[in-house]
C-alpha cells in the first residue's frame, strides 16, 4: 500500500483495476444493507463463503458484500453477474442450489425470482424489476456494485476521477462556477443553491475555513443518508474534498447520528483508506492542497440537524440553534467561514464534476435539477429507497415504482417531507415533485420521507404523531416552538380522544401562525405543517372526530369499538384464545360475542382472525 503521489499515478492504478474487472468471471453481490441484514443476509453471505471454501468448485466465484440496493421489502437480495440475474428473499439454504443451478449450469431458479405485484409475471434481471425501471439511480446505483470497505472497488467504477480532474484542470473559482451552473440545490431540506453557498464562503475572509457534512438524518422515517454512507462512503468523501478545494478549507467534519454504527464504521474505514493512498491529508495526490476529515457522532437530538445547532454541538455545547442574521458561510464553526451540506448534496458533487454541469442540469425541472431520493413507506406494495429525477409525479412514484396500494385499498394521501412536511391528498397526485411545487401544496421536500396513506390511515393521528415528535424534540430555547407545540399537541390529543371542540380548530390555526412567525429555527416554523395541511385537505375527518366522536379510519383507540360479525364468524376460537381481557366468549363453531365493557381495544383479535369477522367501527 503506497501513497499515490500524482494524478497520473492514480489514473494508472485505475486502469489496472478496470482491466482486472473486465473478465467474465462470475460475481455475486449480496445486499447487506440494514434491511437485508435484518432479514438474514449475513447468513446468506456465510453460506456462500462456506460453499465456496468447502466444495472445491471448478469455477472461480467472487462474492461481494454491498450496501443497500433500496428494495428492502424483498430482501435479502442477491444479484448474479454476468447476466444481472435477480433473486429475492434468498435464504441460507438456497445458496447451494444457486451455485449449482445458476452459476454452474446457467439455469434460473424459478422460486427465487421476483414476481411483479401488478402483472403477476416473474422477472429475471434486476434491470427489469419495475421498482428499479423508472428510477434514475445516480447516487444509489453504485451501492449495488461495490464493497463499501474496498477503495479499489470505488476506484474501479471511476471513483476519485472527479477529484483528479479538479486538481489537474480546475481552479477553485471554476469548480464553484461549475456547481452553480449545474443548478444543484441542497438535499437537506431547504434546497439552497449549493454553488452560491460555496461562493459566499469562498469570498469570506479568513485563513481557516471548514466544510461539514450533515449526516444527522433526524426525520423519523428516513434512511437514505444512512444507506449512502453505509454503501458508498467514498462518494461523500470525494465530494467533501472537492468542496474543500473550492472554498480553500483544510479541515472537514462529518456529523453522524450515533444510532448509525455501520455508517460510522464504513466512513471511518473510507477516511483511513483515503489517507493511506494520499487522497486525503497532506498534499493530496502530490498537490499543494491539504485537507482532512474528522467524524463527530451526534448525541441523539433531532434539532442538531439544523445547521447552527449542529455547529454548536461540534463545538462541545448543547445543540441549540441561533438566529441566523449572520450566515455560517461567514461565521460558522469556531466563528470561521463554514460550508455545511447534506450527505446527498456532497455525494452529487463528484458526478457533476465528472459529467459536467450541463449534463446535470438536463435532469429534472426548471428550478430543481438532478435526482432526489425518497424513502417510500407506508401503505404501498414496494417500500424502500427510490431515486428519481426531480419532476416525476407522485402518481408515478406510488403506482409505478411503488406498485400501488396493498390489499386493493384506496389511496387517501401522501405525506412528504417528514415532520416538517405536509400531507398531499389524492386529488393532487399529479403534482410534479420539485422544491417549489411541494411548497405550493403546503408541504416541502425536506429529507425525502414519503408515507403513503390508505383509507385505514387516520390523518389526525398522523398529524398528532408528527407533532408529538417535533414537540418532544424542541430544544426549548424559543417560546413559540416550546409552548406552541405543546398546546397544539394537547388539543390534538383531545381531538383523537373524542374530547375536542369545533373552536379548537381555530385555535390550532392561531397557534400555528404564531409558531410560523415567531420560532427561532425551522423546527418550530415547520412543525405545524402536517397539522395545517391535513386540516386544509381533510376537514371532514377532523369534524368526524369532534362532532361524531368517530375515527373514520378506525385508528384512534378511544373512538373505535370492535365487533364480531356474526355472519362471518365460524367460531374457530382463535380470537378467544388471544384476548387478554377475556372480553370474547362463545362456544366452538358458534359465532362468538365481544363484551364492549371488557374490551381494552388492543387489536389482538384482528391479528389472528382469518375470516375478517372482527369489525372496527
Amino acid at each position: 500500500m503506497k501513497k499515490i503521489k500524482s494524478p497520473a499515478e492514480l489514473e494508472k492504478l485505475r486502469e489496472t483495476l478496470v482491466s482486472q474487472n473486465n473478465t467474465d468471471k462470475p460475481w455475486v453481490t449480496i445486499c447487506c444493507g440494514t434491511g437485508c441484514s435484518a432479514s438474514g443476509a449475513l447468513d446468506v453471505v456465510s453460506s456462500f463463503e462456506k460453499a465456496i471454501k468447502e466444495k472445491n468448485l471448478d469455477i472461480d466465484i467472487t462474492t461481494k458484500v454491498t450496501g443497500c440496493h433500496g428494495f428492502c421489502e424483498q430482501g435479502p437480495l442477491v444479484v448474479i453477474n454476468p447476466g444481472n440475474i435477480f433473486y429475492c428473499k434468498v435464504k441460507y439454504e438456497d445458496v447451494e442450489e444457486i451455485i449449482k443451478e445458476t452459476l454452474l449450469e446457467k439455469k434460473l431458479i424459478d422460486r427465487l425470482l421476483y414476481v411483479d405485484p401488478l402483472s403477476q409475471e416473474k422477472v429475471k434481471t434486476e434491470d427489469e424489476v419495475t421498482f428499479y425501471k423508472k428510477q434514475l439511480r445516480l447516487l444509489l446505483g453504485n451501492n449495488g456494485m461495490i464493497d463499501p470497505t474496498d477503495l479499489y472497488d470505488y476506484l474501479g467504477i471511476g471513483g476519485y476521477g472527479a477529484l483528479n480532474k479538479v486538481l489537474q484542470e480546475m481552479t477553485p473559482r471554476q469548480v464553484i462556477e461549475e456547481i452553480k451552473n449545474s443548478g444543484l440545490r441542497g438535499r437537506g431540506g431547504a434546497g439552497f443553491p449549493t454553488g452560491i453557498k460555496w461562493e459566499s464562503s469562498y469570498k469570506a475572509e479568513g485563513d481557516l475555513k471548514y466544510v461539514i457534512c450533515n449526516a444527522d438524518e433526524g426525520d423519523p422515517g428516513c434512511f437514505q443518508d444512512r444507506s449512502i454512507l453505509e454503501g458508498n462512503p467514498h462518494s461523500v468523501l470525494e465530494g467533501m474534498i472537492i468542496g474543500a478545494y473550492a472554498v480553500d478549507s483544510g479541515q472537514g467534519y462529518i456529523y453522524v447520528r450515533n444510532e448509525y454504527p455501520l455508517a460510522v464504521k464504513n466512513f471511518s474505514t473510507a477516511i483511513e483508506k483515503a489517507r493511506d493512498y494520499g487522497l486525503l491529508g497532506e498534499n493530496i495526490l502530490g498537490s499543494s492542497f491539504s485537507f482532512d476529515v474528522k467524524i463527530c457522532r451526534g448525541g441523539g437530538a433531532f434539532v442538531c440537524g439544523e445547521s447552527s445547532a449542529l455547529i454548536a454541538s461540534i463545538e462541545g455545547k448543547a445543540g441549540e440553534p441561533r438566529d441566523k442574521y449572520i450566515h455560517a458561510t461567514e461565521k460558522g464553526l469556531h466563528d470561521k467561514p463554514t460550508v455545511l451540506n447534506n450527505v446527498k448534496t456532497w455525494a452529487t458533487v463528484p458526478l457533476i464534476i465528472e459529467k459536467s454541469a450541463e449534463w446535470f442540469s438536463n435532469i429534472g425541472t426548471e428550478k430543481s435539477k438532478g435526482t432526489m431520493i425518497f424513502s417510500l413507506t407506508g401503505k404501498v406494495n414496494n417500500t424502500g429507497l427510490v431515486e428519481v429525477p426531480m419532476g416525476i409525479t407522485l402518481k408515478e412514484l406510488v403506482f409505478e415504482i411503488g406498485g400501488g396500494i396493498p390489499g386493493g385499498k384506496n389511496i387517501k394521501a401522501v405525506q412528504t417531507g417528514g415532520p416538517s412536511g405536509g400531507c398531499i391528498p389524492e386529488k393532487l397526485l399529479d403534482l410534479p415533485l420539485d422544491y417549489e411545487k411541494l411548497i405550493e401544496a403546503g408541504s416541502m421536500m425536506g429529507s425525502g420521507g414519503m408515507i403513503v396513506m390508505d383509507e385505514n390511515t387516520c390523518v389526525v393521528d398522523l398529524a398528532r404523531y408528527f407533532l408529538s415528535f417535533t414537540q418532544d424534540e424542541s430544544c426549548g430555547k424559543c417560546i413559540p416552538c416550546r409552548e406552541g407545540g405543546k398546546q397544539m399537541l394537547s388539543i390534538l390529543n383531545n381531538i383523537t380522544q373524542g374530547k375536542g371542540q369545533e373552536k379548537d380548530l381555530d385555535l390550532i390555526r392561531e397557534i400555528a401562525s404564531v409558531m410560523k412567525d415567531g420560532s427561532l429555527c425551522a423546527l418550530g416554523t415547520m412543525a405545524p405543517n402536517p397539522v395545517l395541511t391535513t386540516l386544509q385537505y381533510f376537514p371532514d375527518e377532523y369534524l368526524a372526530h369532534i362532532r361524531d366522536k368517530k375515527c373514520p379510519a378506525g385508528v384512534c383507540q378511544a373512538l373505535i369499538e370492535y365487533f364480531i360479525d356474526q355472519e362471518a364468524c365460524n367460531g374457530c376460537g382463535r380470537c378467544l384464545k388471544v384476548c387478554p381481557s377475556e372480553a370474547i366468549t362463545g362456544h366452538k363453531e358458534e359465532p362468538h360475542e365481544l363484551d364492549q365493557d371488557k374490551c381494552i381495544k388492543c387489536g389482538a383479535c384482528t391479528e389472528v382472525c382469518r375470516h375478517e369477522a372482527i369489525l372496527v367501527k
Binding site: 440494514t34 437530538a301 462541545g316 448543547a318 413507506t377
Partner: protein
Amino acid sequence: MNVDLGKVDKLIDKYRDEEAAYIPLLQDINSEFRYLPRDALKRVSQKMEVPLSHLFRLATFYKSFSLVPRGEHEIQVCMGTACHVRGAPRVLNKITQQFQIYPGETTADQKFTVETVNCVGACALGPLVVFDGKYFGHLNLSRTDKLLEGYHEENKKSS
C-alpha cells in the same frame, strides 16, 4: 455504586488534546458504564477543567446519555413513521405492559431497558424491535409475545 475511575481517566486521556471534545468523551463513558456515573462526571470536570454544570447540561440535553444505570438488555422499539402506521404503538404497549415500565425506564432487576427510537433504516420490515442490536421485524402482538418469552426463558437460565 463504585465507579472505576481508572477507566474514566483512560478515556479522558484519549481526548485530552482535543478542543472541547466533551460529547465524544461522555459518549465513551456512557457506553463503558451504560450510563454517566456522577463520580465520572466530577472527574471529567476536574481533569478537563470544565464546569460540572456544563457536563450536566450536555448529559440532560442529548438523548444518548443516561444519568441512571441502564439494563443489561436493551429493547428499542422503532416508533419511526413507517413503523407507526403499521402498528408500532400496539407493540410498544404490549412490551411496556409486560415489563411494567414506561419507555425510557429500566426494570427493577436492572435486566431490561425499554426505549423508543426513530427509524432504524429497515422500514420495510416494520413494525420492528431492536433487541440488543438484533432486528426483529414484522411484529404483531403474538410474535412480540414469543420474542419476549424467549428472552425471559434465557434470562431465567442465566441468572
